[in-house]
Symmetry: C2
Subunit: 461 residues, 2 copies
C-alpha cells in the first residue's frame, strides 16, 4: 500500500463512515479557494469533520504521517490560503455549523467554525444583537474562515475587523491537543494574547473548532449618502473632508468609472451619466444625529466638487444606492476573470494610490477597476484578466499586481488590508516585513507547530 | 572585578554620562512597582535610557552578560511586574517622553514609551481627539507601562482597553534587535499579529521603544447618573438591567459600604446616610440621546431598588459625583496598606462574586472593600492590611486573596481583568490556564527571547 493509501485507510478507520470524501469532483471542489492564479496542489485525502474530536483525530493521524493539514471553511478566500498542497489532507469544517449559544446579557455568541457569517447575524438579530464584521462574502463565508483571515468588510471603518470581536477560541494545535484560549469575560489579561495571534494566522498555527464572539446592540437604521464626482482626486478630497470633520460613517465606499461602466453595460442604471466616481457613505447614529450627519456629508461632498450628492430618505432608497456597489464585482466578472487586489494605505494617500494604479494600468496595458473601502484607505483594484490563456497578458497582469503592492508599501501602506497573504502575496510579505520580523514569524510558527504540518507554505515558506 | 562590576563598567562605557544611576536611593525607588507584598530583588544596575539605540545597547550588554533586563515606566503597576530581580539591570524608559506625532487625519499619535497617559490625552485634545484607555494611574503611568500591562480603566466598558488602540510598535527584542511591528493603516493582515502579542506581555517578550496609537474624536460632554442602593444584590440587579436594556454607558462603577464609610470618615460627605452601595454611570452620547439614556438609567436604577437616583445637570455636578469614586482608594489607604485585587467575571455573576467576597472576608477575618468596573464585571476587592508586621493577619490576607482568585475562576472569570500577572498571580495563572496553554506560553517566550533575559520569572517561571 502507498503512503497515501495508508493515510486514507487510517482516516477511514478512525472516523465515522462518510467523513472521508471519496467523490473526486467533490474532493476537487474542496481543494481550492477563489484566488485567481494561485497554484493548487493535489490532496491525498479530503475530510469533512463533524466534531472537535474528529478534528483532533485527523491532526493526530497527519502528525503520525507527517502529512500537511489544510483546514478550510467555505473556500471564499481570495489569496489561495485554503488551496490544497500536494499530498495534504484537506480538512473541511463546513459541517460544524451549529450556533451553540447566544447570550444577550454577556453580549456574546459561541459558534462552531462552519457557521455562515450571515446565519450568525440573522440569529443574533432576533435578540436585538449584532455581529458587525461583514466581508462581502458574508452570505457564504464561515466564521472559521473569517477568523483564519481576520476578515474585514464595509462596516469596519466604524466597527473594526474580526479580531476585535473574538473573545475565546477552542483550537486543535499542531501537536493534536485541544486547547481553549481567551476568555468569556469583558476584560482579561491573564497571559499572552494567543487569541489575537491565532486570528489571521491562516490555518498555520492551529485549527479553530469553536469561536466565542463579542456582540453589539443593533445600530439604528442607516441613512445612505451618494455622491458622483468628476475625478478620483475630487472623491479623495471628499473622503479627507469627512475625516477632517470628525465624522465616522459606518461605511464609506468608492467605485471608479470602470466599475460604473461595467454595471451600466450590464444593468443600464445610467451611473456613468452622473459622474466618473461614486462615493457611498452610510451613517447609523440615532436620530436626529443620523440625519444631521448625513446632511453634513452631503454638504462636504458638494463642497469637494460632487456633481450630485443626496441622502436617502427611506431604507429602500438607501438599499438601491448600495445596489450598484454590490453589482460591481459580478459586472466586472462578465468581462473576464477578476484578479482582486487588496492593499491599504494611510487615508491621506488614497488619491495618490489611485493615481499610481491608473499609471500602472497604462504602463502594463491592463484593465484595472477600483472599488475601495475608502474610509479606511483599503483599496481593491480589480484587474480584469483575459477570457483565454493569453500568456503575455497574464505576465502583464502579474507585473501590474506586483506594481500595486510596491506602490502601497512606498506610500506607507500594507500589501493586504483584509484578504490575507495566502499564496499570492508571500513575496509581498517579505517586502513588507523586515528579515528580523520574518524570523519572529518563523520562530512562532516553529513554537506552535513544531512538526510543521499546519497549512505549510502559506503566508511564508 | 566582580561580574556585577564588569556589567556596570560595560554599561557606563557604552552609554552617555549619567545614564547609569549611581544614587542608591534613586536606584531603590526604581526597583519596584506599587504591588503590596510582592518580592523585590536587588538590581546590579539601574539605567535611564534616552533613545532606542541606548535601549538596544543595554539589551546587547545584558545578553553578553546573560543578565536579566527589567524594563519599567512609572512603576504604578500593582502586580510586581516591574519589580527588580536579583542581579538584573532595571531599565527605566521614563526619560523617553516625547510625543513624536499627532496626525488628525489618520487619527493616530506616535509616542515614546515614557509619555504619561494624561499628557497624551491633553496633547491630542487640542486637536479634538481622544485616547480612551484611562487607568486610574493615568496622571502618572506611562504609555509604555500601559502597553506592557494592556491597561484598562473606567471607559473600557464602552471603548475597550489599550490593546484595541495600539497600531504599531518599535521593539527591542531579546536578541538586541530593533524591529517595527504592526502598521499605520486602518486595516492590515500582513503576517501574525505580533503587536497584540506584545501588548500585555509584561516586558517578557520585548522592550517597547515607540508606540503608535489609534485615536478617536472627543466624545460629547458626559452626563453622570448616581444611585444609592440598599444592598449589593440590588446594585447587581441594576447593572444587569442597564445591560439588558441595551445601554452601553461610558462608565459604570460600583462602590460598596466599606468604601463609602472610609470616604465619609475622612471627608464627611454623608455618603453612608444615602445607602450601602453607590453605582455611578456615565453616558457620553450626543444630545438628545445622552439625556434620554441618562433618564432611562435613572428609571432602571429606581426600578432595581435604589433609594435615590438622579442624573447630573451640569459638568461640575457630574464631576462631584465621581469625586467619591476617586477618593475611595486614598481613603482606604488611611486605614492601612491596601492589597488591590483585580478579577473579572461574567456580568451575570457579579452579585454572586460580591457575595463570595463578603463570605471570604468573614471566613478569614479580614477587611475587604469593593470598588468595581461593574459594567464589565471587573472587580477590585481591596484588602486592608495591618499597619504593622502582623504575620498572622498577613497569612489570613493571602488566604483571602487566593480565595478570591479561586472564586473568580469558579464563576467563569479570570484572575486578572486589567492589572496583570506579574509576581503576585503566577499561581493564579497556572490555575486559570491548562498545562498545554502554559506550554504554548513557554514556547512563545523561548521563541522571542531565546536567552531568557527579558523580565524572567514574571507571569510564569
Amino acid at each position: 500500500m502507498s503512503a497515501a493509501d495508508t493515510l486514507v485507510k487510517d482516516l477511514q478507520t478512525a472516523l465515522p463512515h462518510g467523513r472521508v470524501v471519496v467523490d473526486a469532483d467533490v474532493a476537487r471542489s474542496l481543494s481550492r479557494d477563489q484566488a485567481a492564479g494561485a497554484p493548487v496542489g493535489e490532496p491525498a485525502a479530503v475530510v469533512r469533520a463533524r466534531s472537535t474530536e474528529e478534528v483532533r483525530q485527523v491532526v493526530e493521524i497527519c502528525l503520525r504521517h507527517r502529512t500537511p493539514v489544510v483546514a478550510r471553511g467555505a473556500g471564499t478566500g481570495l489569496s489561495g490560503g485554503a488551496n490544497a498542497v500536494d499530498g495534504c489532507v484537506v480538512l473541511s469544517l463546513e459541517a460544524m455549523s451549529e450556533i451553540l449559544e447566544i447570550n444577550p446579557l454577556e453580549r456574546l455568541a459561541v459558534v462552531q467554525p462552519g457557521v455562515v457569517n450571515d446565519d450568525l447575524r440573522a440569529a443574533v438579530a432576533e435578540h436585538g444583537l449584532w455581529y458587525p464584521p461583514d466581508p462581502a462574502s458574508s452570505p457564504w463565508s464561515t466564521l472559521g474562515g473569517n477568523v483564519a483571515t481576520n476578515a474585514g468588510g464595509l462596516c469596519c471603518v466604524k466597527y473594526g475587523v474580526t479580531r476585535e470581536y473574538v473573545l475565546q477560541l477552542e483550537v486543535v494545535t499542531g501537536s493534536a491537543e485541544v486547547v481553549r484560549i481567551g476568555r468569556r469575560t469583558a476584560k482579561g489579561v491573564a497571559g499572552y494574547d494567543l487569541v489575537s495571534l491565532l486570528v489571521g494566522s491562516e490555518g498555520t498555527l492551529g485549527i479553530v473548532t469553536e469561536i466565542t464572539v463579542r456582540l453589539r446592540g443593533l445600530p439604528s437604521a442607516p441613512i445612505t449618502v451618494a455622491g458622483f464626482f468628476p475625478s478620483l482626486v475630487a472623491a479623495g478630497v471628499a473622503v479627507r473632508a469627512v475625516g477632517a470633520a470628525g465624522i465616522t460613517p459606518s461605511a464609506l465606499e468608492l467605485m471608479d468609472r470602470y466599475c460604473l461602466r461595467a454595471v451600466d453595460d450590464w444593468k443600464q442604471m445610467g451611473l456613468t451619466d452622473a459622474g466618473d466616481v461614486l462615493l457611498l457613505a452610510r451613517v447609523d447614529d440615532p436620530e436626529p444625529t443620523g440625519t444631521a450627519l448625513a446632511d453634513e456629508i452631503v454638504e462636504l461632498f458638494r463642497a469637494s466638487g460632487a456633481h450630485w450628492a443626496e441622502r436617502s430618505t427611506d431604507a429602500a432608497e438607501g438599499e438601491a444606492l448600495f445596489a450598484a456597489r454590490r453589482l460591481a464585482y459580478p459586472a466586472l466578472e462578465r468581462l473576464g476573470p477578476v484578479i482582486t487586489e487588496d492593499v491599504c494605505v494611510p487615508k491621506e494617500n488614497v488619491p495618490e494610490m489611485l493615481t499610481r494604479i491608473e499609471a500602472l494600468a497604462q504602463q502594463h496595458d491592463v484593465h484595472i477597476a477600483n472599488i475601495a473601502h475608502a474610509g479606511d484607505g483599503n483599496l481593491h483594484p480589480l484587474i480584469i484578466g483575459p477570457p483565454d490563456d493569453d500568456a503575455d497578458q497574464w505576465r502583464r497582469i502579474h507585473a501590474a499586481f506586483d506594481g500595486i503592492l510596491d506602490a502601497a508599501l512606498d506610500l506607507g501602506g500594507t500589501i493586504t488590508g483584509e484578504h490575507g497573504v495566502g499564496l499570492l502575496k508571500r513575496g509581498g510579505l517579505v517586502n513588507e516585513l523586515s528579515p528580523t520580523v520574518m524570523g519572529l514569524h518563523r520562530a512562532i510558527k516553529e513554537a506552535l507547530d513544531p512538526a510543521g504540518i499546519l497549512n505549510p507554505g502559506k503566508m511564508f515558506e
